[in-house]
Every structure is written in C-alpha cells, then in structure tokens.
Symmetry: C2
Subunit: 547 residues, 2 copies
C-alpha cells in the first residue's frame, strides 16, 4: 500500500534512533544546588602532591551530586565534575573518573555516600542517584587529562585544544533530543488518531449514526498539527545532524568559527522541539478524553518521559537565552553591514525592507516569520540600548529584556523549523509520486498556516497582511483539516511504530480499543480477588460502627 511509504520513512529517514533511555549515563555534573550554572558547582578536587592523589569533597549539602541516571543503585564508576585546585589555586571544573562501589560486594567505598533520589514523575526505572564525598582520595591519573593536565608535582597544564570543544558532546545529545521529541510525539499522535477513528460520539444530525470523532473539525484541529510537527522535527533534526557533522569535521581541522551558530541552533531547537512535543503529547492525550488518563493508554508515560527533556540537558528558558545572545550579536553585525552565517542571513534583508509583503503562499509565510523574528530581535536590541541610556549596566539591561529575548529566540527557532521543513519537503518529494507529494505538501502547509494563525498579532505588525487575508488564512486552515482527514490514519500508520513500542490500549494497529481496556482490568492486582482484604480490615468494621 502506498501509505506504507508515507510519513518520514518516505524521505528515506529512519524515525527511530536508539533512545537515550538505553544508554546508561553516569556523568555527574548536576548538584543539588546547581544545574544550569556550571561555574557554581561546589564539589572540590584538591591535588595532594605528597601522595599524588586528588581529594574529592562535598563541602555542603547543596554540593551533593544529584540526578545522574544509573547512579542510585547500579553504577560502579562515574565521571565526576569538580572544582579542581592544585598548588593553592582553583582552575575551575574538571572531570574525574571515580570508582564508587566495591566491585565484589557492591558496597559504597569509604568516604562515599550514594543512593537513589526517590520517586519521580517518570524515569522511575533509571535509579537516578545522589553522591557525596567525604575527603575521598583518588589517584592523580583518574583526572581525565585528554585536554587539561595536572603533573605529578601539581603543575597545571592548560588545555591545548579549544575550550569550546567540550560543548561538542552537549550538542550531540541535544541533536538526539530533537529526534526523541519527534519520535515520541509520533507515538502519541498515532495513538490518538487511531483511537479517534474507533471512537464514535454524539449525533450532530438526527437519524444518522454517531460519527467517528476524527470527523469533528475540533478533533482534527487538536491532532493533525502534531502529525505535521513530528515530520517537521524529524526533518529539522536530520538537518541539524548534518550541520553538526559538518561543524565537527571543521573542528577537527581546528576551525571553530561555526561553533557559535551550531550552539545557538542546537540550543533553541532542543528547547522548542521538546516543548512542542510535550505540549503536543498532552493535547493528544486530551483528545482521547478520559481513556487517555488510563496508564494503559501509555500517553501519561510518554508525556512524563518527554516533559523531562524540556528541562534536562539545558532548561528551556536558559537555552533560548543562549540563542538570544547569538541573535543579538548577529543583529549588531547585520547593522554593521557584516556578512552573516546562513541561519541569520535573513537579518540583512529585514534591515533593508519595511513590512514584508504578504501573499499567503508558503514562501510568503516563511518570509513573514523571518521578518517577525528579525523585528523581535531588533526590538530587544533597542530595548537594551534604551535601558543603558537611562543609566543601567549592560547586564541589567539584558536581564530587563529577557522576557522579550526568550520570545525573539523562539520566533527565530520557529522560522528555522518552518523553512527547513518546507525546503526539505520540496527537495525530498521532488521525485515522489504526485499523490505523496500532494499529501506531504498539505502537511507542511498546515504547519505553516497553524503557526501563522498563532502569530496574527506579529503578522499584523510586521507584514502587509489584511483582515481579509487573516480570514482567508483561517479558511485555508479549515480546508487543510478536511483535506488531511482521509489520510490521517494512513499518515500515522506510516510512522510504522509497532504495537510493542506503542504499548497502548487505545492505539494498537487492530483498533480493538474497548476489548483492550476491559482486558487491562484483569491485570491490576486490585482485581485479583473479588473482595480485598481491606474490606475485612477497614470497611466492614466501619460499617459496623467498630472503627
């Protein structure tokens, strides 16, 4: 069937990657009191040249290492980031490999306090742990010295390679998180679309049978955008991956010029993709009504998994502000007439033109989004300048502008996703069958129109769009819902996610929703006996007035 080749697979891109869940992560960076601010970490590693050892120590409660997955009850070794001092001087954060448990007995080594964090919203099988040191000694060689080094006598040798190199891993992880966001949203929307094709409700027309709820435009409005978003994020993730490998190749040759742009890209794409995905998964769950609240729908677990990624490996707001830093610099370069890197090249155009001319095409929507993002960055730059004029320090002026800076970075990121998605669909479907091309184009178009309708205030400010154009856009959106409806089930089937992966009573391929929900009731221990012990212990005495 043609459906089988639809979805991201039709672009020749595998939707699934190894989930992060399967990779044990024993690197302990975060502490109880510090996550974002790495310079603020408190764990110390003090070099003792007498014994050629580092002394690891947790001077405060807030210096406890916190969150590392697999650390709580499993790991024998971990990489610890600590403030390294030698010869009385602190050189900042350095990594150390530390054995924490006896290999034979698994008991924590002397001077080490380690355990599990307690129940979490999700990831409860990951034994996320804490770790504290009481003057725990490790050999000098256990400092990871590929870059910076400490010699036997305690002499510090600075890293020969660029410090920014350490960000490489972080960028890699962020790239995989964009893919994770896409894949999990695809799972959720598969469940919700299939359920909506089985579920029937209400009778909008007398004497006609109850329609599939997927036929309701409000349901289509809740769901179809997330099919499109999954595609958009997969394609943007792939594109980010190619950008990453290109920059990595450059870096290996010693050229780190493109690292700031890559960092800005990976930051905002990680932030926006995980946020879109988490919100989207919840909307898919809402679309399944009460049944989406059952754990057996798997939607609550998918949500609690993805919503964690909104925060770890760089919090949403913090990452967008990092991108904003890059955008403000780029805007100032544009104003100075300098050549800009590809993803912000549109700034130069925005500087020249006033309002963007609106014609409702995909290209026009993308150009309008670029104009909006540039407008927002420009407003931030002006805001900062005004605050400085009124006597503020640059730092204070920046802080005062952060609410708008976050919005500007988000607008830039949305622009980026829209343009990459549209360009990639155009490129990848160039040789597809006409029908595939039509459906893929409808899907990418609804993504653009959806976001345009979410940004009408910005469109009215920064483009020539008229009130009639806005009405046309709304109508176009509703037409696209109708056009996509017949292909909706095919589109989620084309994600080709096996039932064993979906693990959902509502979303299995065979559509046996109600049968599965009833079968699930036989699995809960509460139903193992018709009358639970609790009746005899509590209820009966209560009814007899004995409690």
């Amino acid at each position: 069937m043609e459906w089988k080749v639809l979805g991201p697979r039709c672009y020749g891109i595998p939707l699934r990657r190894t989930s992060r869940r399967s990779r044990p992560s024993f690197c302990t960076w975060t502490e109880l009191g510090h996550g974002t601010f790495i310079r603020g970490l408190e764990t110390t590693a003090t070099y003792d040249p007498e014994t050629e050892e580092f002394v690891l120590h947790s001077p405060t409660l807030t210096s406890y290492k916190w969150w590392a997955g697999g650390l709580g009850k499993t790991a024998n070794h971990c990489v610890v980031l600590a403030q390294m001092s030698t010869k009385g001087k602190c050189y900042g954060i350095h990594p150390f490999i530390v054995q924490i448990r006896d290999l034979e007995t698994h008991m924590p080594l002397p001077g080490i306090k380690v355990g599990e964090l307690g129940p979490r919203m999700g990831y409860n099988t990951a034994d996320n742990g804490f770790l504290a040191f009481d003057h725990h000694r490790i050999p000098r060689q256990h400092m990871l010295m590929k870059n910076a080094q400490v010699e036997k006598d305690g002499t510090y040798v600075k890293a020969a390679r660029h410090e920014k190199l350490t960000y490489g891993t972080m960028v890699f992880v962020r790239v995989t998180l964009v893919h994770d966001a896409a894949f999990n949203l695809a799972k959720a929307v598969t469940i919700a679309v299939r359920y909506s094709a089985v579920r029937r409700q209400s009778q909008p027309k007398p004497d006609e049978p109850e329609p599939q709820i997927l036929d309701y435009p409000t349901q289509q409005h809740k769901l179809f955008i997330h099919i499109a978003t999954s595609h958009a994020l997969v394609l943007t993730g792939e594109w980010l991956w190619r950008t990453f490998t290109a920059v990595l190749a450059d870096m290996k040759k010693g050229n780190v010029n493109n690292l700031p742009e890559l960092h800005a890209l990976s930051s905002c794409l990680k932030a926006v993709s995980t946020s879109d995905s988490a919100l989207g998964i919840e909307e898919c769950r809402y679309a399944c009504g009460g049944h989406g609240y059952m754990m057996s729908s798997n939607l609550p677990s998918i949500y609690s998994y993805v919503v964690a990624t909104r925060i770890y490996e760089g919090d949403y707001t913090v990452l967008l502000l990092q991108t904003a830093r890059f955008l403000v610099k780029a805007w100032e370069q544009a104003q100075a007439g300098k050549q800009l890197t590809p993803t912000v090249a549109y700034f130069s155009q925005a500087l020249k033109n006033g309002k963007e001319t609106w014609d409702g095409s995909a290209e026009s929507i993308i150009k309008s989004f670029q104009r909006i993002a540039a407008g927002k960055v420009s407003a931030c730059v002006n805001n900062i300048k005004e605050h400085i004029k009124s006597g503020m320090s640059y730092e204070d002026a920046w802080l005062k502008t952060t609410v708008q800076l976050v919005a500007a970075a988000e607008a830039h990121c949305r622009t980026l996703i829209c343009s990459v998605y549209w360009e990639e669909v155009t490129r990848l479907t160039a040789s597809s069958s006409p029908n595939v091309k039509i459906v893929m184009t409808q899907l990418s178009m609804i993504y653009l129109v959806y976001w345009a309708l979410r940004m009408t205030g910005d469109l009215l400010r920064y483009t020539s769009i008229s009130e009639k154009d806005l009405d046309d856009l709304q109508r176009k959106y509703e037409e696209l819902l109708t056009l996509i409806r017949p292909n909706a089930v095919g589109l989620v089937d084309a994600f080709d996610i096996r039932d064993e992966i979906l693990r959902s009573s509502l979303g299995s391929y065979d559509g046996r929703v109600y049968e599965r929900l009833v079968e699930e009731t036989t699995r809960t221990p509460l139903n193992a006996e018709p009358v639970n012990q609790s009746f005899h212990t509590y209820l009966k005495p209560l009814m007899q007035g004995k409690l």
Copy 2:
C-alpha cells in the same frame, strides 16, 4: 503582619472548600463507549410488570459502566443511569439505585460484574470502577421517581418539573471545580514562588553573589500570572456561586429563564478555569527545574489531579461549544434588537460601534476584550450563514465552524473573568488599607495586561491600538513584574496553605528545600539497604558474564 490578610482571604473569602476527593461519588453515568453523549448510553432497564421489577442489562462491551469513583472495590450501592423501557417503549435515560455487593460478604451480587479500572495518571486511591449487568433484577421502587415515574402496571408518568432541573447538580459540581482549580493553582504557585526565593543560580554580574531566581524577570513572568489567576478564579468562582444560588432560588419558584445563561457560564468557566489551572501548575513545575520533577515536590500530583478535571464533568471542547451555542443565539437576539441577559449585554454595544477605542486602562482592556469576543461570535455567525448559503445544512455549517466557535467561547469566558476580577477587586478593596489596595490592583492589572499581550492580533483587529501602544503594554507588563516582586512571597504566604496540605519538599514555609530533598532520599525503599538484592540476582552475574 499585613501579608497575612493579603490574598483572597483579604476579600473575606475562604480559599478552601471541601475537595471533591473527599466526597465519594457512586453515580455511574459514563460508559466505556459514551461519556459526553448521554443519549448514546447503552445500559438498559426494562420494566417487567409481572414481577414489578426492572431488568438491568449491559448489552455490549461499550455499555460497561466506567470510571465511577469508589465503585471498583468499595461501594455497596450506586445510582445507575440507564435507558428505561416500559410497555415496549424506551423513554430515555433514568436513574436507578442499585445494590451491587452483599452487605455481609462484600461479594458482587449475581448478575453483576464489577471491578477496578487499573492504574491511572492520578486518583489511584479512588478505586474508579467498571460495572456490567447480566439481566439483573431490581424492585420497581428502586427507580428514583422524584420526577418521572413508572407505575405498577408499567404506565409511564412524565416528570412534572422542568427537565432542565437535572442540570442543577451538574452546575453545582462545575462551580466547585472552579474553586478546586483556583485552590490547586494557589498550591502550585506557593511551592514555586517559595522555592524561587530559596534557589540561587548564575552570576549575571561578575563579583556579585548568585541571585534568588525569583529576581529573574523570566521567572517572574512564569509565576506571577498564576498568583493573579488564583485570585481571579476564586473571585469568579464566588461570583458564579452567587449567580447559581440566585438562579436556584428562581428555579424553585418555577422560573427557569436564567438557566441557559447559568449553564453557558458554568460550562465555559469550568472549561477555562481547569485548563488555565492545569497549564499554570505545569508552568510552576517547570519553574522549579529538575526538582519539580521529584514526586516529593508534590507538583506532579497536583498536576495529575487538576488535569483530570479538564476532562471529567464535561470535556473542555464540548463545554465551550455548549457556551458557543448560547452565544450564537444571544448574538442573533442582539441583532434582532432584543434585550440580552447581563453577561452578554456587551453584544449590543459591539453591534453599534466599530473598533473599540484603546487607552490602555483596565476599563479599556476589558471593553476591548468584549469587542474581541463579540467580533469572534459575529464572525462565527457569518461563517455559519455563508456555509448555509453555499448549500450546507445548519448542522454541517455549525460543525465546520466549531474550531472558531471554541475560540469565540474562550474569548467570551476570558472577558468575563477579567471583568468580574477587576470589578470585584475594586469593590472589595474599596475600604482596604491603601497598601492592600495597591497590591491587589497591581495583581489584577497584570492579569489584564498578560492576556492583552496574548491577544495582540485580536487587539489590532478589533480596537484602535497602535504599535506604540503595544510596546507600552509590554513595558507596563515588565514594570508590573518588578512592582510585584517584593510582595511575591508575601502574596503566596497569604494563601495561608499549611505545609501538611502542600506536602512539598520545595514549598514549605520554612524554606528548608535542600534539607528536605535529602531527607526524602531516606524514605524510598530502594535506599533501605546499601546493596539491593537485584545486585546479587542480576548485576553480579552480568558482570561475571553469567547472564
């Protein structure tokens, strides 16, 4: 301290009501296949005049009663809604009181299948259950016959009282849900604001200590709106309560004229308050970073509790469409020059004027919101008319407009909350101390400005607002964040929610966040022993290559 009288308590309104959790609810309405569409329920109750009994039966899997709290393992009796037939004719849904378990042994009675649903996202202590009948007989008198009746010989006597009366209970429950939404959001924002006053992070200025994260405008942006929203919902809930009791008094006199407006009000307020509260609670959780993901923060549980209320007792979308029905009728009445009920009286004004004149005051914002809501309802009415002109049935034209109808109902509801909040604050602080009045006014003002900034597209369409006005509005918003900052902790303390109710490692009154997080690690069974059995069973054999 003056703080103690701030918050909703300063209006003399108790924030806490009996939570629904504490009221066992054994009414089984919802079935596996039907929730929203009551006419679609499949359980049958057929009268047998021979024995003067009703025969309860579940003819299909989808007719299983589903969700009722306390039913799974606890209840002995429940009220069952079923399609009642007598003398060969079905008269629709009627209520029956049914004994389901033996009072002595607690065993399900013959012909009754009952059990627990299995794990859910929340409410796992509520033993939500399912119930199915196999030709189970109950005495005729067990039909609840206060209204409609079935006589011994099977003659059906129609309800003497107005059918709409049955909606009374539903409205009552919705009113309490608005209060629940406010209270739980107040809990979440108390936790997040207190945590943000303890947590310090980053160093925006060299050589200065790490600031409390509550000092960051992005954090204030995430949190302060939810303090205001809690107040807005409490005051709107109280106002709805007064409206409800007035309409109830009228109804007892036989006057049901105001019931449609009350129904429309309670529908949209239930939908919007539970949605705002759930989204707000998640934002509060985000604001606590990784620690908000710990169950011990209590934020995940508060979220999973409130997000359920978005769906039960009337799904978000369904309820807004019910309000939309009322709004469309009211708009047509306004066009016909008829007198309108109070909450839609603004329609008449909107019909007369073109764009609303903007001056940035609270009154102007409220009038603008009214103009927007009226504009959206008007656009829906026109849209329906156009579809009908092009040959569609009214039902199809309505369906095609539902995406916009939901948005129109939401805009109406927002308008309502804003105007009630502002008017109530003005009224209730008329005799307050000047300082209390200032703070309460700032808080209600930030609510109005926040929503105005979320609706810039609508403001540009329906009011005279200029681009400069929009910039001023953004500046005003940021100024309000700064003004509210010094009072933020006092404002959440004024909610006066005891630590035992908050149950949060992050939000306790004494601010001992890190101490509590570490204490919590001693409570998880995983930490009961330094080495778990799983090491000997799995890990060690794996390490030795034996697994």
